[in-house]
Symmetry: C2
Amino acid sequence: MIANISLNLPAVIEFGAGKINTLNLHLQGCRKIFLLVDKPVFPKIEPLVREIESSGKEVFVSTEVVPEPPIDTLAGLLLPVRDFSPDAVVGIGGGSTMDLAKLVSVLFTGEQQIHEVIGINNLGKRNIRLALASTTSGTGSEVTPIAVLTDTREKLKKGVVSPHLVADVTIVDPELTLGLPAPVTAATGMDAMTHCIEAYTNRFAHPVIDNLALQGIALIAANLETAVSDSGNLEARTAMALGSLYGGLCLGPVNTAAVHALAYPLGGEFNVPHGVANSVLLPFVMDFNLSECSGKYAQVARALGVTTGGSDKIMAEEGIQRIKGLSARCGIPKGLKQLAIPEAAIPAMAKAAMLVTRLLDNNPRKVELKDAEAIFRAAFRGAEA
Amino acid sequence: MIANISLNLPAVIEFGAGKINTLNLHLQGCRKIFLLVDKPVFPKIEPLVREIESSGKEVFVSTEVVPEPPIDTLAGLLLPVRDFSPDAVVGIGGGSTMDLAKLVSVLFTGEQQIHEVIGINNLGKRNIRLALASTTSGTGSEVTPIAVLTDTREKLKKGVVSPHLVADVTIVDPELTLGLPAPVTAATGMDAMTHCIEAYTNRFAHPVIDNLALQGIALIAANLETAVSDSGNLEARTAMALGSLYGGLCLGPVNTAAVHALAYPLGGEFNVPHGVANSVLLPFVMDFNLSECSGKYAQVARALGVTTGGSDKIMAEEGIQRIKGLSARCGIPKGLKQLAIPEAAIPAMAKAAMLVTRLLDNNPRKVELKDAEAIFRAAFRGAEA
């Protein structure tokens, strides 16, 4: 029997080249806009900001975005935004920008403090409009109920999960991703791939999400290399944007698993960008999971384009090889060594990852402390594609 | 290149058995609820109404629903609702109930008159909350931006299309469909199948929607007969509810085509229920379209479970036979004769259908007046399964 599922979705999803120009239309009725935008993206959207202003709205632009945003970065945004008192928040950028915009849109009122809202469903209602546009493909943050912060004191990534973080309006415009540097394209693309794979093979998988996940895997597998090697290829960028949107839609209802759990300490401790951490770890977690989900990995392999046939196990193994090959060809770092992570840090990282039970519980194979260590050690040595 | 697409979605979709019990949660902050509910469904939800009331909300219940609702039925609801002045409208029922609830939620204020809003994007903003729960599988109205009324004077169905008709909250609870009579289960199920097929083979088809459409076709094909013959089978009802939800999601961004256009006069002129009209016409329009879309019909056939193989044309023809067989086994009336429609009415019906250009323009094969007549004549003679 098909299981129950709750979907929290943006009321509007605008997908496609040039769609960022619908933003002002979706801000109808709003008068004061707080716009948080990635600095390198700002020139692209400056004409749009002028258009919004000339339609009679006041826009407060900030580019105060730090990658893998520390709690202090969020705290620094809240006071000026409270003074401005917007009736809409817009975030245009990668996951860090969108996550900050999401949290600002609820917390700027000062009714709740940051430390109170960490975790699941601790966030009160959002009273103003929230619009997000992604400029990578991608974190999927543009459609998720999740925002992640870095606790620099505890050296841990901390997640806030709430339906009140889901945007009212999401714009996925692949033109905004044109020219994204190859390493960022590769890492964010493999991050999106990871969302799809971890949702599809999730212990709490659901047919509604399986459907999106397999489509996402197929789109990313077929287009990531072109997007990386030919940064202005709009066709590949558009397919990646859709694959990444599908990946994002997987995150709210089903979410990720051990790859993301193990990636947390890489970010919290060594400041490795989220996408890079996930893409480096993905094949090693797949190797670990294989014994428990060869049937599903065989389906993943089919979506990746593997046509060799054979048993589930053979197909699954071929699929993992495909992931390794794709990562290598896209220039994903081979392993933790290449990320300048010392081997001696592994036991502590494994311990830290074991705290992310919210995600580890989703993994198709139970991860013990020794398993986490073993995965990190394999990832340290690095993949042979 | 993947084309642009705009999705207008309910911010919340609750899917699954028992999910109707989340309704009160989603009415948080509302104080005065106008509830429009199908009379036969009311006993099922009476305890829920008591729960909503005992949480301090005032509920005005109406069961004033007429199938294929005439404009006068809507008009009769508006005044009492204006007097009540709700901050939320809830519609629980089939397409007629939900369409009326959608229109009431915007028009009760009196700012716009019914005749002003017929057509596409003529509707102003909705200022109150709208929640819908479907009790058939189904019209898909629970997720569409569409509401259809019957103009009894002009004997025509008239559609209102606007993103402001999309619900804030949609509940798809298959328990509400348990016990739905076999003929209604069959007709609404084949209606949902029609939504999927007409969206997938649409001139404006889109990969995002194709994906939903093919899944919907597969779910309905595999479960409709069981739902019809064993009306309390929750597993089949749940699969049908999901298939129908997918069908509904196809309607906003891509919508239907010639089946729905030709069904309009059957409803407007002869009061044939929408689902019955579509399900009777479906195979005859498929026969007509076959020459233009055998490749896509071959994919439809695969989703229907056809495994014989062969050329696209052979697969497509086998698919159409499957539809005819499924309809026959589910007791769908064989043709227009069985609906007591006189053959002499065909020329006028064909003329009336040609006015529904909004949908005819979507059809994979151009429909001329003589084609519409020929399809009606074939449908008059009826299918040989």
